[in-house]
Symmetry: C2
Subunit: 328 residues, 2 copies
């Protein structure tokens, strides 16, 4: 299939409509109505580095690449808007696999009101999926960076941790002996189709979050990014981490301490948020989540003065009373 | 060099400042002040497909990748704003080569007032440079698509054609016996460092251009995109094509008819524009060009009714009196 024909087929899969979109495919560039501030991020996933084709369906590969990109908008508290896709297609990849990959991304985009408005198809040695995502805000104060954490803030995480890492271990056959089928499927799903926490991110921003990051490399690493950007120390309680169901069992099979596994496995795409104690009370409010009926927030540590970095303690935060749920 | 260290070194090369930029590197996403309409495009270049490392310096590879992406904004008549870079780095590529590649792009960006505000570094099998560019407009009427050409319009091209293709032939040693050194260097430069025609694009839009495209695949192919999008026939005069100096000689060495070579070689990143005859008189106006002292416009054909496509004639357009120069 020639590139031009493939583009035409892909355009038939993509549904770039929406009130904001003025031009999309078929021109040199897409044109969209802007809000006052644009929030922009680019994220590439390469076969053999970020995923393996045999482990995920094409639809899952497409979903996961877009979800990872949108997760950065979630961590800023931005309203998601548009996406552009550069697809590097290796020799021998069938056109229907390309189509299924794009369909997986389009399905996620549609569920979130995101329009895939542009793209580029190129030959590549390995399947490469690069998404640029554009979000919007009407005021920069709506947006949350990594640099706003202050001593005294509490540190929370959305949802649960360790599921994606455990799911990958199951997919790779490194664990799973004693895991019930439903639990195993749920863990696998969290690796294959991570949910970008867009609504939670916007709600946390509105509630007074001072710093946020999405957990792609593991809480330990990503909280470290906040600590360095904010010039603070973050103390996390391993005992307080919200482990997804089945993570303890998978971690034990792998010979890892469950909480340490959950803090380092990465790719959960949950949010890590720092908020002043005064804001924590407002977290009673509920948020709509785009992909699930709700997503919880668990306080897992606090921000203190000290050399920038992350400290883990074995005890709990003593803050378990602060565990709340957004719109369950 | 670990990814995190490389990112820090790269950030020291990039200069994402500017009145529009609120947040750039170091956060989950960049934040920029928007105009009312965003113009967005993504463009990937893969080693071995779009360039060869031995043929271009790292700086030229970086320049060329960004220029190709910005050329799409030029073809829309958009004001260039920001760029994001996803860099796929193959094993064994030295950190200073990565740095030089990014420096080449940054030098072009700086010369055009474009801010590289975000990026992603990933491992890849081949060097892969994906740029997303964001442009701005305050009114959609300022922007020009491919679908506005109407019978009776004249068809023009900026600058000259064939230089990039001839330059590549010289680089690959396929031609060049009788070409003077200065001419050969100029042809090579046009392949290695194409100038995105941003000022000319905006000026042509303001002068009443109805359809535009940048010439990446060759005038024959790219005029065909306008013809199909506009549902018109485009008649081009081979004899009227503005061939760059030395192109005739290189084409002859290659055994190709010079004008046909210039119309098909591609990668010149000049603009092809369709404008009503009434607008052609206004083309007397001059435009500032960002990279050169000036860029000419040559009328090379006309838009007629008929089945969508491109026809080449051997004669000239009889329109040579319409050749004008923007700000020479």
């Amino acid at each position: 299939m020639r590139e031009l024909e493939l583009i035409e087929v892909l355009e038939s899969v993509l549904a770039p409509g929406g009130p904001r979109v003025i031009r999309s495919f078929g021109d040199d560039a897409a044109v969209v109505r802007a809000d006052r501030y644009a929030v922009i991020s680019i994220d590439a996933m390469v076969e053999g580095v970020h995923f393996r084709r045999g482990q995920l369906s094409p639809e899952e590969i497409g979903h996961r690449a877009l979800a990872a990109a949108l997760s950065d908008l979630a961590a800023m508290g931005a309203e998601p808007g548009e996406a552009l896709l550069a697809l590097g297609i290796p020799p021998g990849l069938a056109a229907d696999e390309v189509l299924a990959t794009v369909s997986g991304a389009q399905a996620l985009a549609s569920s979130l009101g995101v329009a895939i408005v542009g793209g580029d198809l190129v030959r590549a040695e390995s399947l490469t999926i690069t998404f640029t995502v554009v979000g919007w805000a009407s005021d920069p104060g709506e947006l949350v960076g990594r640099d706003g954490a202050r001593p005294g803030d509490l540190v929370g995480v959305t949802g649960s941790l360790g599921a994606a890492g455990a799911g990958l271990a199951l997919i790779e056959g490194r664990a799973g002996q004693g895991i019930p089928g439903d639990t195993a499927r749920a863990l696998r799903e969290r690796y294959a189709r991570p949910p970008p926490r867009l609504s939670a991110g916007r709600e946390l921003s509105a509630l007074g979050a001072r710093a946020m990051i999405d957990i792609s490399d593991g809480l330990a690493t990503d909280a470290g990014h906040i600590a360095r950007a904010s010039d603070v120390r973050i103390e996390l309680s391993l005992a307080s981490l919200p482990l997804a169901e089945g993570v303890s069992e998978v971690a034990s099979e792998l010979g890892a301490e469950p909480a340490a596994f959950a803090a380092t496995a990465g790719e959960d795409y949950e949010l890590c948020v720092c908020a002043p104690a005064s804001a924590c009370k407002r977290v009673e409010a509920t948020v709509r989540n785009d992909l699930e009926s709700g997503v919880s927030l668990t306080w897992v540590g606090s921000v203190v003065e000290g050399p920038p970095g992350v400290t883990f303690s074995e005890g709990d935060t003593g803050l378990s009373g602060y565990e709340h749920s957004f719109l369950d």
